[in-house]
Amino acid sequence: MIEMEGVAYRYRGGDEIAFPDWRVETGEQWHIRGPSGCGKTTLLHLIAGLLTPQRGKVAVLGTDWGTLSGGKRDRMRGRHIGIVFQRHHLLPALTVKENLLLARSLAGLPRDSARVHQVLERLDLQHRAGARPETLSGGEAQRASLARAVINGPQLLLADEPTTALDDTRCGQVVALLRELAREHGATLLVASHDRRLEPHLERALTLTETRSEAAA
């Protein structure tokens, strides 16, 4: 599913971040952990094809991102990868349903209202389909963000600090939901977070430090 070899990335004016060689199989669920600034989000962006490493190779679903043009990267990301952000990042001008329909449209998939209703129902959001993001509660907004991430049936689900601002109960609920959704879609799940409360929920972990990284099962 994911292969990383000799990957390093350097932000403009910053130090190079070197990542371990790493292999993830289909359906696995991983916790990418480490202190703030160690490169967790950067790793997710490299895997999502949002960043291109200066060195090394990142391959997802058997395709090396480096071999794809900009447009093909965008299409592959939209079609096969769902991303959940720390904040919901729903488009404020659109309703919940329109946010989901936009995700399908941008991935080049046909408008499928039945699928949208099914996903909203699964996340207990069907009654909020016509609501704008600003009127949603924090939990609703997070579930809407999850709904958007899975609307295209992704093979890879990436979550960036999804529980940071949540209390223990909500943290457990969100991780459980992420795992369930990934399992239901047969998707591989990677959760990047420094939140230690996730450790009991995810069976595999990749720990990043500023000096070295190690993968632990």
Partner: protein, 411 residues
């Protein structure tokens, strides 16, 4: 979800900003439309009213004034010329036809024109009701004139001395009433707003007036004076050339005669449009300034919107939107706003032209309407689309260059 739905959703999200952009563009385009319609209709009207008239002969004065008063019936005449000029010109080898005009009176602001049936034929006039005149003091009303003054066959009316609409308070020739014998079909020309009568009617009215004054001054015995003793005069002659060569010789020949002046409607109309054109150009330039301001407002609006939507654009990129798609999204939004504004401007412009036309028609008898649509207006829409795209270009380029990872990390 299509790009159009996405754009409309964002316009609804910030309705005030969208409305301001639309309004600015609409006002600029509406002003351009009014100028366009006005220029076009005036020019068309001038051409239609002057068709078939090669030369106008009248009393010495301003050539433009002669054309305005005798062809377009929009100014006072330069003076009178002797009646025998008609016959002299009719016998001239370079002249194919002469139509005499005798002006001086009006009825409810509508000009009474003493002429011959050839004048009605010149504009293709036909009776819609009644018939043409057969003797003096019979009158035929143009379609608009009949409607405005309530003239119909069988009605009588008395002319008022003076030609201008504000001469209502002038001396009324109630001792010599006219009888309406016919109303003409609309022709779309100057004929529609005139009351026509034989030249002899105008002479008769003024002969009567002379007798009347004499009577008032000297008592009843003075009526015995022969009014025919006064020299017969005309206001202008509409001349048609026998050949184009006449244009070289005839005006010069007439201008050499004392008291006479020849003016070419084609030349004077062009001069008039030149003078009018300067005013229209000034208004047009002002309208383009308004459109420019609208483009600037559009640019500022889109630029601010882009700053506000940076994260939205980044999220859209993570969802699979290509750089080109976000670029086109911003360009399309600029084009749509500008075209919608221009569309609104077209409607506003035509509405304003119609209101202005009603006022001009009522007060100045200048026919002007907003119901005419010109092909040039499509160019206005195209220009608005271009301006919208241009205003959206810098924000769109910035959107194209948005670094997704950096933008997402900003929050």
């Amino acid at each position: 979800m299509t790009t159009l739905r996405l754009i409309l959703a964002y316009l609804r999200w910030r309705p005030l900003q969208a409305a301001l952009n639309l309004l600015l563009m609409a006002v600029g385009v509406a002003t351009l439309v009014v100028v366009l319609l006005f220029g076009h209709q005036i020019e068309e009207r001038l051409q239609r009213d002057a068709r078939g008239i090669d030369l106008v002969v009248g009393a010495q004065g301003s050539p433009i004034q002669l054309i305005l008063s005798s062809v377009f019936h929009a100014d006072i005449p330069t003076g009178n010329i002797p009646e025998e000029t008609v016959e002299r010109l009719r016998e001239h080898r370079l002249v194919a036809g002469v139509i005499p005009l005798a002006l001086g009176d009006s009825y409810r602001g509508l000009r009474i024109v003493g002429t011959e049936p050839a004048y009605i034929d010149l504009y293709g006039g036909k009776p819609a009701a009644g018939r043409l005149w057969e003797r003096a003091m019979e009158a035929v009303a143009g379609a608009d004139a009949a409607a405005r003054a309530g003239l119909a066959p069988g009605r009588t009316f008395s002319g008022t001395h003076g030609l201008l609409a504000d001469d209502h308070g002038g001396h009324v020739h109630d001792y010599a009433p006219y009888t309406v014998v016919g109303v003409l079909e609309p022709t779309g020309t100057v004929l529609d707003r005139l009351i026509l009568t034989p030249v002899e009617s105008v002479w008769h009215v003024h002969d009567e007036e002379a007798g009347h004054r004499h009577e008032e001054n000297h008592g009843h015995e003075a009526v015995a004076d022969d009014p025919d003793a006064a020299p017969r005069e005309l206001t202008a002659l509409l001349v048609r050339y026998r050949s184009p060569l006449a244009a070289l010789a005839l005006p010069r020949e007439i201008n050499r005669e004392p008291g006479l002046m020849a003016a070419s409607p084609a030349y004077e109309s062009a001069r008039l449009m030149e003078i009018l054109g300067f005013g229209l150009d000034t208004v047009r330039a002002f309208a383009w300034v308004l459109v420019g301001a609208a483009a600037l407002a559009l640019f500022i609006g889109l630029y601010n919107a882009l700053r506000e939507r940076r994260h939205d654009l980044a999220v859209m990129r993570t969802l699979g939107a290509s750089r080109l798609r976000v670029f086109l999204w911003i360009i399309s939004e600029g084009v749509l706003l500008a075209v919608l504004g221009a569309g609104l401007g077209l409607l506003l412009g035509h509405g304003a032209a119609e209101v202005l036309g009603s006022w001009l028609g009522a007060v100045r008898q200048v026919p002007f309407t907003g119901t005419v649509w010109l092909p040039g207006e499509l160019w206005l829409l195209a220009a608005a689309a271009g301006i919208g795209a241009l205003a959206a270009l810098p924000p769109a380029i910035q959107a194209y260059r948005t670094d997704i990872a950096t933008t997402l990390a900003e929050r």
